[in-house]
Amino acid sequence: MFTLTREERHVVLFLITIALLGIGIDFLAKKCLPAKSIAQFNQELGKIDLNSADKELLMSLPGIGEKLAGRIIEYRDEHAGFCKMEELKNIKGITESRYGKIKDYLIVE
């Protein structure tokens, strides 16, 4: 049916043996290796960095429009970045309640 030469038969059997071995190891790894928990995947995940976010990204925050995003960037440029998040309250238009709404989405790096 296949009319393989002696050398070709050797090669085919060798390749299949390696493939079977590889599949066996892969299957065992899938079954035996446990799921690893990791530490560095923490609360800061998915938050916007106040010191690098651009206007568009800041505008995606709840209650932040174009003007307010512009003021945040202005403040950042004037003060060479934010040292802590509370500094946001110094910006005109960011009230205590607005700050409360957005602080969970932000981070200062």
Partner: protein
């Protein structure tokens, strides 16, 4: 038998089909494969017995490969998603495909590396499809942290995504829920290929009008996102939609251009093929490495290697190598419609067309142009015969006009593709000439759409099936 690989591929594919139909645990098939391997070794010198055991071994290997691909590791993202918990998930990973941007929404395949499940964070693996509302331009390989809802796709789309190795869709509602980690993790060759693709797309859209550019973009670079729906629908009805994707023909043109260029600068013949092979791989990655392109690229590489190794290439063997190559990477591709149409059409052309040609005695015709015309009809008819069943089953449409439509549309599509490649090439060497190629392609595209619309209006051009 000159095509041993064809039989191996057949046995392998049958094994995959059997494993998809029969509920049988992997360890059992694995043990069976080991037994067949031992028997093959024992009967090594007895040709008939060896062939029988080798067939069984290849068959069981196909089954083992499919079953193993269905087994998910413990760290797979599937194991961390709880269906009744609607809270948003946070995942970290990188973009594993060329992002498609439409109406301020990006969609891409995301390779996950970590997930937060409950209060714990885990290293994870597996691909998800992401829809991200964002105006920002994203690129392949970009590392991101995403927050959004994860859900399973529905019905037929679920099967399609499952065959691509994707189990979940994530909806990311705003840009705030996507953070860039400023790390690029993609495969460097693929990054280069996609960068090149963006540059070439820029050239096409700079010189041609939106519709012509969209059609050339699809034909030259395999990018269908800008094709208007009415063009797609009309071509579906006439059975000519295949011209809107990159196929073996395009791979052939690229090979021809590369080899011709190298010939012009006096590169020796063998080195020409050595250079052409990596260029074809880059073109394959540029066009998204869809099944038809991978098939055509592997076949072209097998032909070139055949020349380099001084072996006579065989079309069935190279088709089998391409098939095995794709199935070894992902055995579930066997159930993908693109895979089925691509391989059956080529198989039908190489097996039915020569028989029809000799049966009708085309070679004895003395008028050259009539012979070429009948040849074209027969190729189109063979491909139609081969794919008719799949098209009727999947798309619920039967188009008798396909043979005639292909006869008129395919030459036009060939010219448009050549114009597209020439436009790109000329814009790099003689930008002043590029606009001439753009104008020619405008005319050809207009002609193609008019002819296609005219054919679709023919009585009994197509029938919708229940």
């Amino acid at each position: 038998m000159k095509q041993p690989l064809a039989w191996l591929t057949l046995a392998f594919s049958l094994g995959i089909i059997a494993a998809s139909r029969i509920e049988i645990p992997l360890p059992l098939i694995y043990s069976l494969s080991t037994v067949f391997l031992i028997f093959s070794c024992v009967t090594f010198k007895k040709r008939i017995l060896f062939d029988i055991f080798l067939s069984c071994l290849i068959f069981s290997l196909g089954a083992v490969l499919l079953k193993n691909s269905q087994e998910l590791p413990k760290c797979h993202i599937h194991n961390f998603v709880y269906y009744r918990n609607e809270q948003p998930y946070i995942v970290k990973g990188y973009i594993n495909s060329q992002p498609v941007s439409k109406n301020n929404r990006n969609s891409f395949i995301f390779k996950t590396q970590a997930i937060r499940a409950g209060n714990l964070n885990y290293a994870c693996c597996g691909n998800i499809l992401v829809y991200l509302r964002s105006k920002k331009e994203l690129c392949y390989g970009e590392e991101l942290i995403l927050r959004g809802n994860l859900y399973k796709p529905q019905h037929t789309y679920r099967d399609y995504l499952y065959n691509q190795g994707i189990r979940f869709i994530m909806n990311v509602k705003s840009e705030a829920d996507a953070v860039r980690v400023n790390n690029n993790q993609g495969f460097i060759v693929k990054r280069l290929a996609l960068w090149l693709k963006r540059k070439l797309e820029g050239i096409i859209f700079r010189y041609a009008s939106l519709l012509s550019a969209a059609i050339m973009d699809a034909m030259v670079l395999g990018e269908k996102r800008n094709i208007p729906w009415f063009v797609n629908n009309a071509m579906m009805k006439t059975g000519t939609v295949h011209i809107l994707v990159v196929s073996g023909f395009n791979v052939g043109i690229v090979s021809f251009i590369i080899i011709l260029f190298l010939k012009l600068i006096r590169v020796p013949r063998r080195i020409r093929f050595v250079i052409a092979i990596p260029c074809l791989v880059i073109y394959c990655l540029m066009t998204g490495a869809s099944t038809p392109v991978v098939r055509a690229t592997v076949m072209a590489i097998v032909f070139m290697l055949g020349f380099l190794l001084k072996r006579e290439p065989d079309i069935y063997n190279s088709l089998s190598v391409a098939c095995l190559f794709i199935l070894i990477f992902n055995p579930r591709q066997l159930f993908d419609i693109g895979f089925q149409l691509s391989f059956t059409s080529v198989f039908a052309i190489v097996s039915i067309y020569p028989r029809l040609k000799s049966y009708l005695g085309i070679e004895s015709l003395k008028i050259k142009y009539l012979r070429l015309l009948i040849d074209g009809c027969l190729v189109s008819f063979s491909a139609w015969l081969g794919t008719m069943g799949f098209i009727a089953y999947y798309f619920k449409i039967f188009s008798p006009i396909t043979v005639l439509a292909n006869l008129l549309i395919v030459p036009l599509a060939t010219l448009i593709t050549l114009c597209g490649f020439s436009l790109v090439f000329m814009s790099l060497i003689f930008p002043a000439l590029a606009s001439s190629f753009a104008s020619a392609s405008e005319l050809l595209v207009a002609l193609l759409i008019k002819i296609n619309a005219f054919l679709a209006r023919f009585p009994a051009a197509y029938f919708s099936l229940p």
